[in-house]
């Protein structure tokens, strides 16, 4: 079946940052239709029928997430999560920088659907350009009467506020993001209560990823059936996949879920000359590694989970036969140790401990027992933290230690100084 790209269409050909260009291509028509013709419940229903699952990492069904909001008459908030910082992911930055208006349109539709009059977008602090582009797009849309109070001749209105982060991976976790949005340290909150019940300022809140929201105008335009029939029934639809690592032509590729990993590799130009891909991390730094025998697996939420890993944020990193997996593991473990907010002891201490142990191994002073200790400590710090950051250390580390144990042992055997 031929799949038509929607989110990445036109990028690099026309300037989609220009409101006129975006509108000429049908932009904001769905927002107009939603606000003038549809009831919020109808929008929720359409999105539920599309089986759209969150594109930020957890893959939670969007319609169901919206359905958790209580009917308590309290103000509600829509928050767009653009704190993209999962190692290997660069799709949201592209969407923000290249086509901000479709993100705005998605935010407006989402806010209307859940009955929120105020929406926020949390943009990662490092995305200075994204912040500037998005601010300009918001101003243009506001001037065109698409954002604000009493819009398009109705009584409804949605205000959008742009909020800039300041360097913290953990703020991609929704409750940490909400704390940061409240002007606090970005430390995750204890769940439950979930944001749907007590979110921003303790009011019912929905946090959706940039890509998730950007799909809304197209789901409304083409109908939920269009989206639901693309790819596997349980995880349908299109997905922007960030492919990087040892490939010739790294980049973002919008594909149907269910595409094979091998096809993604081919889209990215294949391996470097004379090299062979021996491993692939399919869902960002938090996901377990897959190997060459897995390249024909279907890339979707279910299949990845069934193979002990996850689709995550859709960041696919390929490794060829030159890879030093001890260094790769060190880079990711150091990342999680650095980004731990420090609230939970297992994550704060365990991550740091693992980083130091890997450093010791890399310096040629590792002990034979260190290899087993890596796996044991990673295991022990998993599942006992407030948020999933600590749990993100084990998957990649354990999977590469298991597969490439000889590489780890090699460092130990070659150690220069006897201990």
């Amino acid at each position: 079946m031929r799949v038509t790209k929607v989110l990445t269409r036109g990028i690099g050909e026309v300037d989609l940052r220009d409101l006129k260009v975006y509108r000429r291509r049908g932009g904001y028509r769905q927002w107009k239709r939603v606000i003038t013709e549809l009831q919020p419940a109808e929008v929720v229903d359409l999105v539920s029928k599309s089986n759209l699952r969150g594109r930020g990492g957890a893959g939670f069904p969007t319609g169901r997430k919206w359905g958790f909001l209580p009917n308590n008459g309290r103000p509600r908030y829509m928050v767009c999560n653009s704190d993209e910082a999962e190692p290997g992911t660069f799709k949201d930055r592209m969407l923000i920088e290249e086509t901000p208006h479709q993100v705005i349109e998605g935010m407006l539709i989402g806010a209307y659907a859940i009955g929120a009059k105020q929406a926020f977008i949390y943009i990662r602090g490092e995305f200075k350009r994204g912040y500037e582009v998005f601010s300009k797009a918001l101003a243009d849309a506001r001037a065109a009467g698409l954002i604000g109070e009493k819009l398009l001749g109705t009584e409804h209105g949605v205000e959008i506020t742009i909020h800039r982060g300041a360097g913290a991976y953990i703020c991609g976790e929704e409750t940490a993001l909400l704390n940061s949005l409240e002007g606090k340290r970005g430390e995750p909150r204890l769940k439950p209560p979930f944001p749907a019940i007590k979110g921003l300022y303790d009011e019912p809140t929905v946090v959706n990823n940039v890509e998730t929201l950007a799909f809304l105008p197209y789901i409304l335009k083409n109908g939920p059936e269009w989206f639901a029939q693309i790819g596997p029934p349980k995880s349908p639809g299109l997905k922007v996949v960030s492919v990087s690592g040892h490939v010739k032509n790294a980049g973002n590729f919008e594909v149907a879920l269910g595409t094979t990993l091998r096809k993604l590799l081919a889209l990215a130009g294949g391996p470097r000359d004379g090299r062979k891909i021996i491993a692939v991390q399919p869902g960002g730094g938090s996901s377990a590694c897959l190997f060459e025998e897995h390249l024909d697996l279907s890339y979707d939420f279910e299949t990845m989970a069934a193979n002990g890993t996850m689709l995550g944020s859709g960041a696919v990193v390929f490794f060829d036969d030159t890879t030093d997996f001890v260094k790769a593991a060190h880079a990711l473990v150091r990342f999680f140790a650095h980004e731990s907010c420090g609230q939970c002891t297992p994550c704060r201490e365990g991550g740091h401990w693992l980083e130091l142990t890997l450093e010791r191994i890399l310096h040629g002073r590792g002990l034979d027992s260190d290899i087993d200790m890596l796996v044991a400590v990673a295991r022990q710090l998993t599942g006992i933290n407030l948020c999933p950051l600590g749990d993100s250390i084990e998957p990649f580390l354990a999977s590469v230690v298991k597969r490439f144990e000889s590489q780890f042992r090699g460092y130990v055997k070659n150690r220069a100084i006897a201990v």
């Binding site: 290997g88 300041a166 360097g167 300022y201 730094g285 490794f319 990342f335 740091h352 130091l356 890399l362």
Partner: protein, 247 residues
């Protein structure tokens, strides 16, 4: 060139912007990060005066402002160089030669991670994934991206910065930077035990209950004292230990 620093002037400039920011949120504290960003773009760093002013505007104790600011790596609570060079050290860049790029930066500028060059022009940091893995190895200069790094590209970039004609504008500089802008060494948020094993080549900490090896190491490297307030305390304790005082 260090600009003359007049905080009253900065405050007069930032205040109207801060008022606007506060009005955008149902609760004004939400504007804290944005206000700190505004101060940093005016002064090049978030000074103690800026944190106090932000606290006053938001009716927050300055300790709360400082605690919040210290959580985020992009707020510099000490002066930094005119060019903040942040090179990605994460996976996709590593697979594409980031190690060599980082080594070259360190050698060319004679700095380590989190240090500023002596004349105060360059600050250097090795950072986590910048979401530009398709153009690895990558970096940011004052938060603007530079992609597909090579030695030649670095040479060219540093030459342009030294000549004052690099495409990215330098940060305002209102005070002379120290060796590092990092107020607390990142190790300090860990427990003393975990801190002690900070170098695989010098196993202190665990198995070094008095911390003697650690103290010796710090005494040998005076730079560490500048960077770590706790180090001073350790040295003082160490001196007392040497003098025979028992804990």
């Amino acid at each position: 060139m260090i600009a003359s620093r007049d905080f009253a002037e900065t405050l007069a400039k930032v205040k109207p912007e801060a008022e606007k920011l506060m009005a955008q949120y149902p609760q004004k504290r939400s504007a804290l990060l944005s206000i700190l960003h505004a101060f940093q773009s005016a002064e090049g760093w978030v000074s103690p005066e800026a944190m106090a002013a932000a606290g006053e505007m938001l009716e927050l104790p300055v300790s709360v402002v400082e605690s919040t600011a210290s959580f985020y790596t992009l707020f510099f609570r000490r002066p930094v160089g005119q060019y903040m060079l942040q090179v990605c050290r994460n996976l996709s860049c590593q697979l594409n030669g980031a190690e060599e790029i980082m080594a070259y930066f360190r050698e060319r500028l004679n700095v380590r991670h989190l240090e500023t060059t002596y004349e105060g022009r360059f600050s250097y940091e090795e950072v986590e994934c910048l979401a530009a893995c398709d153009r690895a190895p990558c970096m940011q200069v004052n938060l603007e991206f530079v992609y597909d790094l090579t030695r030649e590209k670095i040479d060219e970039m540093l030459r342009a910065m030294n000549a004052g004609n690099f495409e990215v504008a330098p940060l305002p500089q209102t005070a002379k930077p120290d060796v590092t802008w990092f107020v607390a060494h990142e190790g300090e948020k860990k427990s003393p035990g975990a801190q002690g094993v900070s170098s695989p080549n010098d196993p202190g900490g665990i198995g070094d209950p008095s911390g003697r090896q650690m103290i010796e190491r710090i005494v040998r490297d005076p730079r560490l004292i500048e960077a770590r307030p706790t180090a001073e305390r350790l040295v003082r304790d160490g001196a007392a230990l040497e003098a025979g005082a028992e804990h």
